[in-house]
Amino acid sequence: MTNIIAHLNKAFESRIRLGIMSILSVNDSADFNAMKQLMDLTDGNLASHLKALEGIGYIQSFKQFIGRKPNTQYVITGEGRRQFKEHLDALESLFK
């Protein structure tokens, strides 16, 4: 039991962070507005979680311009994918 809890990643305790990782793990990339719409969040709320995940190196952002509008794309990093998978495996083992 304690073993399982140890494998659950603290960085994914928030459901919003889980949502971000879920979206980025099945899409090549996703932009800020798409994620905002998918999860029905406010700008500030989403931005703070994205920043936190980027800070620990689980995701990466790329800024670009579409026409004149700034657009931020996010991708999952190798480390992020590994950690997310470990977290999912831990979740799964809880129900075995």
Partner: protein, 213 residues
């Protein structure tokens, strides 16, 4: 005792987490704004369109004195009107559903879905037009069903899984229509009419009603 309560609480939270993860993975990769209602209405429109073609033109050719070309034109117009009305209903209901889910209808996922649907559909549409102008109207019936089925199977990866089975049904009906030529219109009515109504009804009950709660 305390440990058990904690464990139950933890399991409950993780179960909710897993649900949220699943939902986000699906929502971000699949087109789920298609409403079952548009399926039902498309089916009804198709049956009305077929009924018009059958009773006005095909049942008793001596009833009207159109030339062969005029007949083909009327059939083509009939089919295009049915197609237009069905697509309009589809767009309208999808737009409503997307709005209710607070999503943009025209995002990356929708465009990818439309692209994958339209390739077999366009190919089939052009092919059937050629058949129509060559006068082989019965093979047009089979062709539209078969190509529509292929288009549905192609698109099912990007939307509800159930569409896959609708696609297979349409292909089987199309092949049946090619073999039993004299019953072609019947198979066409089943494929575009009855199947859409049944499918729309099932989807509406399974997805749309649940969301309204």
């Amino acid at each position: 005792m305390q440990f058990k309560v904690l464990l139950l609480y933890l399991m409950n939270k993780q179960l909710e987490d897993i649900k949220a993860i699943r939902e986000m993975m699906e929502k971000s990769t699949k087109f789920i704004s298609l409403s079952g209602l548009s399926g039902i209405l498309a089916g009804v429109t198709a049956i009305l369109g077929t009924a018009f073609a059958y009773f006005y033109l095909l049942k008793d050719p001596s009833f009207t004195d159109y030339s062969h070309t005029q007949e083909l034109m009327i059939l083509l117009a009939d089919a295009l009107i049915v197609l237009f009305i069905s697509i309009s209903f589809g767009v309208c209901f999808s737009w409503r559903k997307a709005k209710k889910n607070k999503q943009n209808l025209f995002n990356k996922v929708t465009l990818r879905t439309l692209y994958n649907l339209s390739i077999p559909l366009m190919a089939g549409g052009i092919f059937c037009l050629v058949l129509l102008f060559r006068g082989d109207i019965w093979m047009v019936i089979a062709g539209t069903l078969i190509f529509y089925g292929i288009a549905l199977i192609n698109v099912s990866k990007y939307t509800f899984d159930e569409i896959h089975y609708l696609g297979i049904t349409e292909i089987i009906l199309g092949i049946a229509a090619a073999i039993f030529v004299s019953n072609g219109l019947l198979f066409w009515t089943i494929g575009f009419g009855a199947c859409h109504i049944v499918y729309g009804f099932v989807m509406y009950r399974k997805y749309d009603l649940k969301q309204n709660d």
